[in-house]
């Protein structure tokens, strides 16, 4: 007796001889052509294909990391982090100025882009009327997020370096980077805000709260993990960008650290680019070591994003 017959017998007791459900099963069986073997085979095939894609994607990444890691191994040391670069003695060269430059750059960038980004997202999501104009604005912001970073470099060069006379300063770099990450932050923050269920907003409004109180007390805290994740991911994009900084003229060889926002600077990606383009193989090893440091920074930032999110979810009450 097949399983389906057993189920049927359970549902309705059989008349004497069991003829009733026998004939019914035959009748309904004729209506279907299950081809279970074929369906299951297609399912397995699909799963295996997806697995292969995953292996291919991760595999390439692993190969890349291993190659870089092997090249970098002999050059990584404490001195590598704390020494200034050297064009003559690769064994004494370090990335101190690039590290500090990157820190300055990201610090200033977040100072500009985070408040502006969150503010814009709150306005667009919570205040602006939903009409064709706000949709147009949204579409344009999404397009801006896809503009190549070199274009932002050109804009930064014309606007901040030349027009505002900021020169090749870390401030000009940070402002350019802010332009670059702003669309990403706005989009991430908007998505986090719109993911807050309306039932929360309505509950707060029904208690006689003003719009500001609803946003400040309920919507923003609920959206904060998502906003923070978006910010950190956007900033980690900025950490790895070289093109706009080269455009605005970040220096490749800097034997000092910036002491203020108007000082010239270098950054990790620029330093890496400089070393890679030198003919001596020692410098290629240095570049690999700098790449490992840059990757470590990026991974730390991403881990921070994840950690922040789960920490917020843990302390909801």
């Amino acid at each position: 007796m097949s399983r389906s017959q057993a189920d049927w017998t359970l549902a309705a007791p059989a008349p004497p001889g069991g003829s009733y459900e026998r004939s019914r099963t035959d009748r309904t069986d004729a209506l279907f052509r299950p081809r279970l073997g074929l369906r299951r085979f297609i399912g397995t095939l699909f799963a295996v294909t997806c697995l292969l894609m995953t292996v291919a994607a991760i595999g390439m990444l692993v190969v890349l990391l291993v190659r870089v890691g092997l090249d970098a191994r002999p050059w990584l040391s404490r001195h590598f982090l704390t020494n200034f670069p050297s064009t003559l003695y690769p064994e004494r060269a370090g990335i101190w100025s690039a590290l500090v430059g990157t820190a300055w750059l990201i610090g200033l960038t977040s100072l500009f882009s985070v408040p502006i980004g969150i503010g814009a997202a709150i306005y667009l999501e919570e205040y602006a009327r939903k009409n064709w104009f706000s949709r147009l604005v949204h579409l344009n912001i999404a397009n801006l997020a896809g503009v190549p970073s070199i274009v932002y470099g050109i804009l930064g060069l014309a606007m901040f370096v030349r027009f505002c006379h900021l020169g090749r300063s870390v401030l000009a770099g940070a402002l350019t980077m802010s332009l670059l990450v702003l669309p990403v932050i706005i989009i991430a923050a908007r998505e986090a805000l719109s993911a807050v269920p309306d039932s929360i907003r309505h509950a707060a409004y029904a208690l006689g709260a003003t719009r500001w109180q609803v946003i400040w007390h309920h919507v923003l805290p609920a959206a904060l993990p998502g906003i923070c994740t978006g910010i950190i991911l956007a900033l980690s994009r900025a950490v790895g960008e070289a093109a706009p900084l080269m455009m605005i003229g970040a220096l490749t060889y800097v034997a000092f650290v910036p002491s203020g926002p108007l000082d010239t600077f270098t950054a990790l990606p620029i330093q890496i680019y400089d070393w890679v383009s030198r003919p001596q193989s020692d410098f290629h090893g240095l570049a690999a070591a700098a790449i490992v440091v840059l990757l470590a920074i990026l991974l730390t930032m991403n881990a921070l994003a994840i950690g922040l999110r789960s920490w917020y979810q843990g302390r909801q009450p």
């Binding site: 509950a203 409004y205 006689g208 009450p317």
Partner: protein, 291 residues
Amino acid sequence: MMTDVQEYDLSNDRSGTIARPAIPAVQVRPAASSDAVPQSADDAPVITTDALSIYYGKFAAVQEATMAIPPRQVTAIIGPSGCGKSTLLRAFNRMNDFIPGMRVTGGLRCLDWEVYGSKTDAVELRRRVGMVFQKPNPFPKSTYKNVAWGARVNGYRGDLDELVERSLRQAALWDEVKDKLHASSLALSGGQQQRLCIARAIALQPDILLMDEPCSALDPIATSKIEDLIDALKERYTVVLVTHNMQQAARVSDLTAFMYMGRLIEFDATNTIFTSPHNRQTQDYITGRFG
């Protein structure tokens, strides 16, 4: 407000047949009502609508509803899905404002406010006209903060601890949560969450409590607790209840309004609606012939 009342009379030819004495809004003709109950300012309707229509874009969700809801009674609004009962309820504290394209014509007075008047501040109105939603929607914060928040943002000057306890007691929830006031409200059961939402609403000392199908997401035991609660709440508050469930309307309400296709078909004492409705459509709905 008193002078307007006559226009909202929906039962002027049958005022003598109404069994319950405490339904001043329905038997509003001064002569009839003065026999039944002394008509004082306290008994004046708290919500009156005058040919109120509510549109979403071009669609008329509520058409020319005229009714007067008396204080400290439970008024149920029943009707099939999409009849406009929730829309009408949400108009009373302007929770419809968040729906783009919403338009209102006709008159709607709630307490002392012309609800859609240009001078009316919805924030002020909502402090006095509380609302409980279909699905329990506590804030993802502690039970205590859920109850205290509304009072806090409205500048409550009394003792918050005492207010929280009193509100939770009134909502028949205190004994179940008093030991975990500062734990997340999301850990409570669905029925407890809904009573928390009621506690949160009454912490603002509203005059009117609007309930939009408050039991439709709850199991029968939680439902019966909420129903008992509604019965107790009418001592202090005017309760307007939208429900899908006719038995619920019959059990808890003093007055029942029947809506169909956006129109207010009949509004009368619950007894009358369920035993000898005046209108054919009401009767068909009550007896389960449609809906």
